[in-house]
Symmetry: D2
Subunit: 305 residues, 4 copies
């Protein structure tokens, strides 16, 4: 077994020069205020061992990483019927593009672009009584952290600036692919994006995807083994915006990124790894975080390919 | 001078077989309820003579024809500065497409596609105290009809079903090309679309465009001669959705159509002509109305080309 | 009647400062070698009077202006059946774009974008015995200049660099919308573009379009009055690449431009006007030439609107 | 270890009802003439054991599967410099689309769409003395079959009907992203597509990708371990046209398909599997072949996720 602690510490040093590069998301004050020097990384192996470096215990806004959890909820709720309302193909366009949505009549390409996540949110809203409480409970259970919560200031800033997402939601609604009101769908979506988690939370919280859907802490089955494999496949092909091909090429494991600077990766039957560094590259993925994951798979020799 | 009355009556007969073709707009009840048998046509010449046939006195929802009046208001208000926020080119896409808007960073191609009309509405909202009252006053003055008014039921139905327009407005707002709230811009836009006018109102109400911008009834100057020529040019290149090329080819005069089945045409220094028949062709223009205008220019020999 | 000679001389002076702006086409040596100081302008009125200024007698490569002549030939040959193979709508895209062609299954939007001109060339090739000789004869007759000819060096340079046009032709062929070989269609197309004409030739050569299709010199009917009006309508909506809306707005008469720096305009029942200045604006139209035409319609008060 | 022979025989039975569905490629006679009843499948494990069923020894046209071999050649030749001329992202468009190529200025999205394969062919042509002989030698060595060859009739039919590919090549050339003539690039491309291989050949011939780049038969290193992982990643994200997301989801291993009905899959460190059935689904992948691969990973429990 590789010496994960040593590897994480090495990566911390080797990526330090990158922290001054890239651009911290600044469309809402809460994200803009995060110092670009922050860097954390955590690994949790299947047997529950935890390795961490840097600011791995500091919570940040998970943003689009939440899409994996709501997809999980939607699959728990309606199973493969979900795929009648959202596709499974990489998009070849920016994460918030409306072009493809128009050409394909309101059927989003996959659940990890914003349009697809809005449809997933609409599905989740169809499961009473309290979808937000249910999402929070799932994330807490997976992460084994009962104190984990959302950040209402982030959600309300997102709402105030979310014109592009409001455009997407109205557009999808115009094609009849939303059952709930645009207001409710956006409200839920901004809630999920505002969940605050640390690298340790995220590594723990994604370990069920490396473990055939079974949560190691509670022993509960979050997803069936088949569904688990398929979410991993979706993360690989669509999880890192319009850089998924590059990620598969350079990193070689399923990953999901967020505009808050977090990225989580899964190596099936082995481990989950999370990294956080707020400054983003041109495609919206954490710049130092992407480099850290490439170093991780290279140093450990782990890859699914 | 052609015998306009005889020509209108002939056209009425010749287009009768077309009234059973096409599709009446049905996205809101008020439009869906209009009988497809309706047909009216009116001509007003520069010396003020009126000719009419069929249901030319019956008011209908002018919808996109209103875009000519709000463009007029915007040019009165900020002049050529308008063109920093909206283009003057035909779109080559459907009237409510978002594709081009994305490729061109939120700058609508022209003021007659919905996206452009929303930006124009935003400009008009910048002229206090009461833009709606001012619009209504202008339309009444041009049409010489003080009883002319809006139809609130149409506006509220539009609002309830206007997801595509809400998508457009939010999208433009995300590019920073709206100053007012999406709610206010859409409210004004649905108001303008709900104005109810007859063919006689419209023919009278567009005569200033055939008269170098001068309103024959009040003697007031609505627009400068230069601005008038330019609105006519825009109507020719962009006034009939994605059929403007075909209209220029077959009809050969500046026209503006609406989804309520109305079309108005202008022959500079001669006359204005309005036609109404609710069933639309595949591009959203009145089917019998388009045929009637082609017959009109063919029978009178009038054309700008 | 305006004093055309004085107006042309004024325009010559007023546009002189613009000659240093813009970019002379340089994709083939023959065009790249034309001095940017060149400027010529000519007007021919319906009664045959000629006015000219600057380098109005110097021949240049007419390039896309030739598309009006081949469209004329195609309409003479197969009439309105042409419109089953090419549309009449403005494109909303660059003149050599393939995007729209793909979305619309190989049916070019109009005969004045390159794709449409290739289909028109294919139609013309279907009229034996010698389409090139026939084109040349028509242009000579319209221009009343028996010495007018093509420039083989231009045609062969175009051929050697015409990858984009070869892409278009192969693409259209893949949709089944070319009857002749790609090689033959391109050969004819590069031939037509290589015709060399002066402003005087062009003003004379387009006068039939201001004269209901009748050639004033020979007295022959080139086109029917109806067809003539329709070509003028097409020139207005599609004649100046992706700036047709702006041209209609600022110049207000049907025009056709070429990448050699020529632009011809038609004022029905009055005159034809041609201008030449090699440096182009960002949309591919002669920069000083566009300004000159705007000055011309403004100073003479002539406009179709 | 699973009983591969039994599994292959089961799959053969279970997919039999699918052979009457889908559409055999018919754009060239040689492909159109293949009976839709054909079905073959072969597995070769890392220790060299071979399992096969049905028509697994019958050679067919590998078409786009050849793109993996030419990519291998290009990486051998110029390494990562290749990625300055072609991207690594899924396309989100049909395999022969020109739209994205235009928006992205002639840089193809990945080496497995036709545009990308043409650029790869151009790179390969830069390695004298005889690129075709070198390609054939590589394929023969990998497949351990010295009798393997191309089918000149297929290549010449492709050439005669390859207007779309000629459009792509000319288009790329117009952006300056081809060094060799369009004629030579297309000639090489049609040659590579015409290689004829059986399922047994293909399973053997792709085993080096499951073996870290090392050819088990000759013991030679075709690619470095890193390069091998990366080709597998590209196959997963881009190997099956616009169905790559669906393939990753349902099949879960790197695959490359061809319009001749073949599909090859790689399970790193385990095996290579090839299947052939000529009738295609709407996205251009073998219909029964796709089902067979999904059954294979499901029955064996093998997946990379």
């Amino acid at each position: 077994m590789p010496d994960y602690q040593a590897i994480l510490d090495e990566i911390r040093e080797e990526t330090r020069p990158l922290l001054c590069q890239g651009h911290v998301a600044d469309y809402i004050p809460r994200l803009a205020g995060v110092p670009r020097e922050k860097f954390g990384m955590a690994v949790v192996t299947l047997d529950g061992r935890l390795y961490q470096t840097g600011d791995a215990d500091e919570a940040f806004s998970i943003q689009s990483i939440s899409k994996v959890y709501t997809l999980t909820q939607a699959l728990q709720s309606i199973g493969d019927r979900l795929w009648q309302r959202v596709g499974r193909e990489p998009s070849g366009n920016a994460f918030n593009s409306l072009v493809q949505l128009e050409l394909e009549n309101g059927l989003p390409r996959n659940p990890f672009i914003n349009a697809g996540a809005l449809v997933v949110a609409d599905v989740v809203l169809g499961s009473p009584p309290d979808p937000r409480a249910q999402l929070l409970a799932t994330v807490r259970r997976c992460s084994d952290n009962a104190a984990l919560r959302d950040d209402p200031e982030v959600a309300s800033s997102e709402q105030a600036n979310g014109f592009r997402n409001a455009a997407l939601a109205n557009f999808i609604r115009s094609f009849g692919n939303l059952d709930h009101s645009v207001h409710d769908v956006l409200g839920f979506y901004f809630y999920q994006c505002s969940l605050a988690m640390s690298c340790v939370d995220l590594a723990r919280g994604f370990l069920f995807l490396a473990n055939q859907g079974r949560c190691p802490w509670s022993g509960g089955n979050i997803l069936l083994p088949d569904q688990t494999r398929r979410i991993n496949a979706l993360m690989l092909t669509c999880g890192t915006y319009d850089a998924a091909g590059d990620f598969a090429y350079h990193v070689g494991i399923p990953c999901k990124s967020g505009v808050g600077g977090g990225i989580v990766g899964v190596i099936p039957k082995q481990l989950a790894v999370a990294v956080w560094s707020p400054a983003l590259d041109a495609k919206g993925n954490s710049l130092a975080g992407s480099a850290a994951l490439e170093l991780f798979t290279s140093k450990t020799g782990l890859s699914i390919f």
